[in-house]
C-alpha cells in the first residue's frame, strides 16, 4: 500500500506513542512526501527542539529513522499536477504540493485535515491500519490455502 504523508502526520509523530509510529515502521506501507517537507521540517529544527525538549542527538536519530522510511519526491516529479491540485482545493490553498503528489501517483494523502476527506483525497490513520490488516489477512489465507 502506498500513500503520501501530510505534514500534520509528520509532526504528530513527535506526540505519537502508538499507531502512527507503528504504521511508519510497517514494511507493507510505502510512504511518499514532497522533498520540500523534509527541508521545511529541518528548517524548523530549533523550534521543534525547544518545544519537544528532546536532546539534539536523539532528535537526529529520530529524524534519521523516520526519514529512512519515507521516499521524498522532488517537485519536478509532480509539478504538472499542481494546477489540478489547486483547482481541487479551491480556496484551501496550502496543500498543493501534497495533493499534486497524490494526483501524480493516483494515491491518497495520509492526513488529519478534515477538508481533504471531503474532497476525497484523504485517508486516516485508522483506515490505513484497517487496510493493512485486511491485506495481511488476505495474504495469510491465500498462503495457508496453498499449503
Amino acid at each position: 500500500m502506498e500513500v503520501v504523508l501530510d505534514s500534520n502526520v509528520l509532526f504528530k509523530i513527535l506526540i505519537s506513542q502508538g499507531e502512527i509510529l507503528e504504521l511508519i515502521f510497517n514494511n507493507d506501507l510505502n510512504l511518499l512526501a514532497p522533498l520540500k517537507l523534509k527541508q521545511e521540517f529541518l528548517n524548523n529544527k530549533k523550534e521543534i527542539l525547544s518545544k519537544s525538549k528532546l536532546p539534539e542527538n536523539e532528535f537526529k536519530i529520530l529524524c534519521s529513522l523516520i526519514f529512512s522510511k519515507i521516499t521524498f519526491v522532488p517537485l519536478e516529479k509532480y509539478k504538472e499536477s499542481l494546477i489540478k491540485a489547486k483547482q481541487l482545493l479551491e480556496t484551501h490553498t496550502k496543500d498543493e504540493d501534497f495533493i499534486a503528489l497524490c494526483l501524480s501517483r493516483d494515491i491518497l494523502l495520509w492526513t488529519y485535515e478534515s477538508l481533504l476527506f471531503k474532497i476525497g483525497v484523504g485517508i486516516s490513520t485508522k483506515q490505513i491500519s484497517e487496510e493493512l490488516s485486511k491485506n495481511s489477512k488476505d495474504y495469510s489465507s491465500k498462503h495457508n490455502s496453498t499449503k
Binding site: N8, F11, N27, E40, F41, K53, L62, S64
Partner: protein
Amino acid sequence: MQLFLFMVEIIIKADVPSEFKERFELVLAKLMRSLIKELELSVAKEIVSKSKFTEEDANELSNKVKLSMHSQLKAEGLI
C-alpha cells in the same frame, strides 16, 4: 542539515547443513528485516516518549510548514 548515524557491523556465524544453506539464508534475511524493524521502532518510541511536544505544537508547525511550501510555489509562479 546532514544526518549521520554511526553504523557498526555485527557478524553472526552459524553451522548449518549445506543442503539447507539457501533456505537458511532466506529465513535469516526475513528474520533480520523484522528484527531491525522492531529495533528501530523501539528506539523511535523511546525517544518520542520523552517528547514534550503537544497537539497544538504539531498543528502550529504543520501549518507553518504548509504556508511556507505554498509561498515557495507562488514565488516560483507555479500556482
